[in-house]
Structure formats: structure tokens, C-alpha cells
């Protein structure tokens, strides 16, 4: 089902970025891979139908970008993201959702996802998002920026292993939460666009680290005191 357009004017598959799909519904998976393959710069190299399968197979595939459905049988897309990120730190993981559920999206970002896309995104926008991801962009909306600030402030109140934000990072987040675009922020702070992006990227990493720390603490707390003592 490859479109003739790709065969004619696109670079060879070797130079194309490798995309993997984790999606339990075969039709959706088929259509997505078709759309991705129709872009000249991307190639859908692997599809998995469950999180378990993805954890087993994708580390060997080493895709550039993983598109992860959030609702998967058994292991959720969020959990799978968290584990895959540990195995493939350089791979961009983008969460796919059918409906725009902000809570889930935030959880996914906390778990280590690098972005999210609605499944109904227009092909052109999808390509743009994939290109940005490939360039290492860390898109962040005002709402997420505000939640990230709150999350870090909450953690700052309870001293622990939580990683804090640098002054610059916080500055960028505050401006983001007020509706400023990355470009405006760069202008305002006298930084380059890429610097702002890399700051945001680091924020995501810290968020991920903190959420993992939190998860470990939660896990320890749930065990009985007798079990916890040897640690």
C-alpha cells in the first residue's frame, strides 16, 4: 500500500528516520504506518501490539521515534514509556491519544514522554510534529508549564532527592505559563531559540527523574516497615 509519491521523490529509506508504533488495534496501526511512510523523511520500521512486546523488541530496533498509544491491554502506554525511556534514553517517545485528556497527557510526560499527539492530527501537522521531535524539540504548552512549576514547587517543600529547577529554567517556565511562545521567550531573555528548547528538554528530564524518585518512594512506602528496614 505504498503511495507512488514516496517511491518517486523521497530519499532512500536509509536516510529516513526510523519510527516504531505501539498500538493494539491493527487497523489503526496499519493506517498510521501508511501515513508515516507517505512522508518523505520517515519510515515506519516496526509495529508492536502491546507494551510487553515493545519492551522486548524495540531496544534492538533502536528507532528514532516511538509513537505510543496510551491505552494498551495489560501494561499501559504510560508505564511502557517509563520503562522504554530507561532502555532507550535517546529515543523520542510521543504519546498518542484519541481524546484530549490533559490528565493522562501530563502523566505521560511525567513518565518520560517527549510529547503527545492526538490521533486525529492532520497528516501535515503530524509530519511537522515528528520533524520537531527529531530535532530534539521539547514542545510545552502553558498548561503543562504551569503544572510542571507546581510540581517542582511542591517537591521543593518536601526535601528529598528531588531535582530542582535552575533559575533560568523556572524563568522560562513562568513565561511559558503566561502564554509566551518559545520565540518570544527567546527574545525576552536574549537567548537563542535552540537554547530555550534545550532548557525545556532538561526540564522534561528532571520531571521524569523526579517522577521516578516519587514512584520509588511510593513503592517503598507501600511495603511493610519490616521489609523496608534492610534498605
Amino acid at each position: 500500500m505504498k503511495s507512488p509519491k514516496i517511491i518517486s521523490g523521497s530519499p532512500s529509506p536509509k536516510t529516513r528516520a526510523k519510527i516504531a508504533l505501539v498500538e493494539d488495534q491493527p487497523e489503526v496501526s496499519k493506517n498510521w504506518s501508511h501515513l508515516i511512510n507517505s512522508f518523505p523523511d520517515f519510515n515506519c520500521v516496526w509495529t508492536c501490539i502491546s507494551g510487553e512486546e515493545a519492551l522486548r523488541e524495540l531496544p534492538a530496533v533502536k528507532p528514532d521515534i516511538i509513537l505510543m498509544d496510551i491505552f494498551l491491554p495489560r501494561m499501559s502506554g504510560i508505564e511502557c514509556t517509563s520503562r522504554l525511556k530507561a532502555l532507550l534514553p535517546d529515543t523520542q517517545i510521543i504519546i498518542l491519544t484519541a481524546m484530549n485528556d490533559r490528565e493522562l497527557v501530563y502523566l505521560a510526560l511525567e513518565a518520560g514522554a517527549d510529547g503527545y499527539l492526538l490521533k486525529r492530527t492532520k497528516p501535515a501537522d503530524l509530519r511537522q510534529a515528528l520533524l520537531e521531535a527529531l530535532a530534539g524539540g521539547a514542545p510545552m504548552t502553558s498548561e503543562i508549564a504551569r503544572r510542571v512549576i507546581e510540581s517542582f514547587r511542591r517537591k521543593a517543600k518536601s526535601p528529598g532527592e528531588a531535582v530542582g529547577l535552575s533559575a533560568r529554567e523556572e524563568e522560562i517556565l513562568v513565561l511559558l505559563s503566561k502564554g509566551y511562545s518559545n520565540k518570544l521567550i527567546a527574545d525576552q531573555l536574549g537567548l537563542s531559540y535552540d537554547t530555550v528548547s534545550s532548557h525545556l528538554k532538561r526540564v522534561y528530564q528532571k520531571l521524569h527523574v523526579n517522577s521516578r524518585t516519587e514512584a520509588v518512594i511510593r513503592y517503598l512506602a507501600s511495603r511493610s516497615p519490616a521489609d523496608a528496614r534492610p534498605l
Binding site: M99, K119, P123, R146
Partner: protein
């Protein structure tokens, strides 16, 4: 036994109130138990022997006591009476009813009485005294307790052992000179043991046997002693009971019914509350289910269709009609999914919080203005209270904010818009402010039909809407709604008052104070 007698006799102070009655019952019961539980007890026998004068020392005793006994103490006394049988440790209830004639006053009523071996007596159901023993006579002054009418004298008499009997006389002198003499005789009745509350009965029953006078050999020899009684006690005058209103039956009834009513009302409120919270809970469950269904079923399927449509487009030649139609279909489906996103947000009870609402409208405003030339800035107060923000309220507020954004995007020609959310006292204030061309409120244009809607909606939600604008001076739409009243309203939602009309349309050029407000420039 003398001490006991005196103690009993004087314990009844003239103003004895009801409260003491039960205590005295107990005390008497205690006495009866002691008497009956000590069979042939040496202690009691010797005590009685000491009190009841033996033949040898009776004269000394008499001489000693006679000093206190007034002359004529036994004048007019009736017979010794008892029931037809006499045995040791016996209780005998004796009863006499009589009438004081109407139309006259009792000037004096004195009763002398004794029982071998002890008694407790009631007048019209009121316990007046207890006494022991046969050798002493007690005088009671009942003058104030005998108004004209029907009266009942009830005596609970005890025999310890050997002979038993009651002897008394009630002498009533009337204002018109007549004298009434009620004595112990055969007109007294014996109340059977099974009768309950007998001392308070107003009339005797037909099956009550008459009392028997004790004559002949049945009489105790010492009753005949010419020196009897050996002691005489005069109890101070009795006064009618003054029952304070808080001790009356009707007051107790009233109090009980008031408490009962309060209790019932409380129960009612609790039940109502329980039902309401149960309803609320069910509603939440139902809303969560609908949200899940929209998401899992409709949302997922429509998404699949969009994808399929996109893929199908790719198979059609560029600029073909089929391709254009498929594109329109996909766009339409995206619109439906977008609307469903909104419904999903509204219906999900997880989002019934102020924080969630604010996050939503900020995100909405940014997405809405994303592809316009208006830059959307946000100013949200941190530390807003974590209050509940229920569906009707957030829907109304969302609609008015959307309308304001829509107006700004369509008509303002602005390049910046500020969405400001903060708290003012207990009010939540949402401001949509643009730096566009503004308008003259006195000349509303046809295409601004949305404005009256804003006022209408905010009124219905119990809030306020204020618009500050002037030509060339931008436009500021301010919505405010009480957070406090809202939480109170959710409790008493069925008795809300109609909200006051509080919509203001302020012309920026109208007055200096308004102008000052309008002059606030955009950041």
C-alpha cells in the same frame, strides 16, 4: 424504735415536694426488708422488747412518756381495724374515702393515727407520712389539704408479728360550725394485693372487702393499757403542694414533644442529606461512565474513521473531487471530535474543581487564538482555593469566556489578548481584555448580538458581567462569580433565590471613574 418514729415524723417538712417521694419509698421498703428478712432476729426482738414495755417496767415508761401526752389524746379514736386475717410480717392496705361538703371552709382538720407496727399514709395520692409503732400516737394537721370535695385516705400498714391493727381519728371542723369525724371502723376497705396504683385511686372498687374491727381476744392486751398512748407526736402543719410549672405533666409533655420534633427534623435532614449525597454519588458514577463511553467507544471509532479518511485521500489523485470531499469529511470528523473533547471534559466529574476549570479555559483560549494574529497571554493567580466548581457553573462560565474570545477574534482587530483569572474576596474574577479597537456601547452593532447573551448567562449563573470599552480603547470583559455562595448553593440547591440583576454596561467615556478603569493599559 422511738428514734425511728421521730425521724420519720419530722422528716416530712411542710413543703415537701414530689422529688422526695421516691426516696422515702425506698427508705420504707428498706425498713420492711430488714424487718422481714431477719426471722426471729434477736436484735429486733430485743429492740422491740425494749420499746414495747414489758409488764414489769411499763409504769416507769408510762410515767416518763405521759408527760408529753396531752389529756384527751385518745378521745374520739375509732376501733382497731385490720383485715380478716392476721399473721406475722403482713402488709395490709386500708382505704377510706370521704367527702368534705361544699359551700363551707375547713377551719381545722387534725388526724391522730397509729398502726401496730408501722404505716405509710397517703391523702389523695400524696404520701404524707410514715410512722411506728403502736405505743405512740401521731397527730397530723391536714387543715390546708382538705378543700371541699372528695378525698381519699390510704394507709399501707405493716405488721411485724403477733397482733396487728390500725386506729385513727380525723376530726374536721367546718366554718359553719359542723364537725366531721372520720374514724377507723368497718366503713374502711381492704385493698387487695393485686391492685396497682391503689393509693392514687379516687374511688374504691366493689370487690374490696370491708375492714374488720378487732375485738375480744384478738385485741392485744397492751392496747387496753389505761396509760396508752405512751408517746404523742405532733407533726407540723402540711401545706398544699405548689408544683412549679416545670414539674407539671403538660410541661414535660410539651418539652418531650419539642425534643421529639427537633429529633425528627434532624433525622429528616440527615436522611435528606444522605439521599442527596447518594444521588450525587450515583450522578458522579453515571457521568464517569458516560465520559468513559464517549472516550472508549465513540471517540476511538471516530478517530479510526479520520485515519481511514486520510489514508483514502492519499489514494485519490490530487485536486480530484473525491479527494476534496474526503478532506471535508475528515475536517468535519475532527470538528466532531473536538466538540466531544469538550463534552468529555464537561461530563467528567474528575474535572469539577476550580483548578481544572482554569487549566481548561487557559488551554482553550490559547488553542482558539493559536492560528489568529492575536497573541494570547495568561495571568492566573497562584494559590487559588481548592474549591469545587460544579458542572452548571463551569459550563456557564466557559460559554461566556468563549463568547468573549470569539468577539475579540472576530471584531477587535487586536494583536494581544490577556486572559486574567484571580480572586477578589470570595469572588472568582475572569477578565478577557484585548488591545483592539473597542466600540461604542451606545451603538451596538448587529454583529455583536452575543453581548446580551453574556449578561443573560451570568445572571442565570448568579454572577456579574461588566464590559468596559470605548472606540479605540480596547475592550475589557469582566466576569465575576461568588465561590462561596456557590458551595452553599449546592447544599440547598432547591431553595435558591433568584439571582439579582447585576449586569452593568459601562461606557468607557461616560464618567471619570469608568474612564480610569478603561485607561488601564495592556501589559
Amino acid at each position: 424504735m422511738m428514734w425511728f418514729h421521730l425521724q420519720r415524723a419530722f422528716r416530712f417538712s411542710p413543703r415537701k415536694v414530689c422529688g422526695r417521694r421516691w426516696r422515702d419509698h425506698l427508705r420504707l421498703a428498706g425498713l420492711a426488708i430488714i424487718l422481714s428478712l431477719s426471722p426471729n432476729s434477736n436484735l429486733i426482738n430485743s429492740a422491740l422488747a425494749a420499746d414495747a414495755p414489758a409488764a414489769g417496767d411499763r409504769d416507769d415508761l408510762s410515767r416518763y412518756h405521759l408527760a408529753k401526752v396531752p389529756p384527751g389524746a385518745t378521745n374520739g379514736l375509732g376501733f382497731w381495724i385490720w383485715t380478716d386475717k392476721t399473721f406475722d410480717r403482713q402488709t395490709c392496705r386500708l382505704w377510706k374515702e370521704f367527702d368534705i361538703p361544699t359551700g363551707t371552709k375547713v377551719t381545722s382538720a387534725r388526724m391522730r393515727m397509729t398502726v401496730d407496727n408501722g404505716y405509710q399514709f397517703f391523702l389523695d395520692g400524696r404520701e404524707l407520712g410514715q410512722g411506728a409503732d403502736w405505743y405512740a400516737l401521731t397527730e397530723y394537721d391536714l387543715t390546708l389539704l382538705l378543700p371541699p370535695g372528695h378525698h381519699v385516705l390510704a394507709v399501707n400498714a405493716f405488721n411485724d408479728f403477733f397482733q396487728a391493727g390500725l386506729i385513727m381519728d380525723l376530726r374536721v371542723e367546718l366554718g359553719d360550725g359542723r364537725t366531721l369525724d372520720i374514724k377507723s371502723d368497718k366503713s374502711w376497705r381492704v385493698v387487695p394485693e393485686y391492685e396497682r396504683g391503689w393509693e392514687e385511686l379516687k374511688h374504691s372498687r366493689a370487690d374490696w372487702l370491708p375492714a374488720q374491727t378487732i375485738t375480744g381476744t384478738n385485741r392485744a392486751s397492751f392496747w387496753n393499757d389505761p396509760h396508752w398512748p405512751f408517746d404523742f407526736v405532733s407533726v407540723p402543719r402540711f401545706y398544699p403542694l405548689v408544683i412549679p410549672f416545670w414539674q407539671t405533666g403538660w410541661f414535660h409533655l410539651l418539652l418531650a414533644s419539642v425534643f421529639g420534633l427537633v429529633f425528627l427534623v434532624c433525622i429528616g435532614l440527615f436522611v435528606q442529606l444522605a439521599i442527596k449525597s447518594k444521588e450525587q454519588h450515583l450522578l458522579h458514577l453515571e457521568r464517569a461512565r458516560i465520559a468513559r463511553d464517549i472516550h472508549d467507544d465513540v471517540g476511538t471509532r471516530l478517530t479510526k474513521l479520520v485515519l481511514q479518511g486520510e489514508v483514502a485521500q492519499g489514494t485519490q489523485p490530487t485536486n480530484s473531487t473525491a479527494r476534496q470531499q474526503l478532506d471535508m469529511m475528515c475536517e468535519g470528523l475532527r470538528g466532531v471530535l473536538g466538540a466531544m473533547d469538550e463534552m468529555l471534559w464537561a461530563v467528567n466529574p474528575r474535572h469539577d474543581t476550580l483548578e481544572n476549570f482554569i487549566a481548561y479555559i487557559c488551554d482553550y483560549a490559547q488553542t482558539f487564538l493559536q492560528n489568529s494574529k492575536i497573541q494570547c497571554l495568561l495571568d492566573v493567580e497562584s494559590d487559588l482555593p481548592p474549591v469545587n466548581f460544579d458542572l452548571p457553573l463551569r459550563r456557564s462560565l466557559l460559554l461566556v469566556v468563549k463568547e468573549a474570545l470569539n468577539n475579540a477574534a472576530k471584531h477587535s482587530d487586536a494583536n494581544q489578548l490577556l486572559l486574567k483569572i484571580h480572586r477578589n474576596g470570595h469572588k472568582l474574577v475572569v477578565i478577557v481584555e484585548d488591545n483592539g479597537r473597542g466600540f461604542d456601547v451606545n451603538q451596538p452593532r448587529r454583529d455583536r448580538n452575543g453581548l446580551p447573551n453574556l449578561f443573560q448567562r451570568m445572571r442565570e449563573a448568579g454572577g456579574e458581567c461588566k464590559i468596559v470599552t470605548r472606540p479605540g480603547g480596547g475592550c475589557r470583559v469582566e466576569f465575576s462569580i461568588s465561590l462561596k455562595r456557590h458551595s452553599a448553593r449546592s447544599w440547598f440547591s432547591n431553595r435558591t433565590r433568584p439571582p439579582k440583576q447585576q449586569a452593568h454596561f459601562i461606557d468607557g467615556t461616560a464618567s471619570p471613574s469608568d474612564a480610569a478603569e478603561t485607561d488601564k493599559s495592556m501589559p
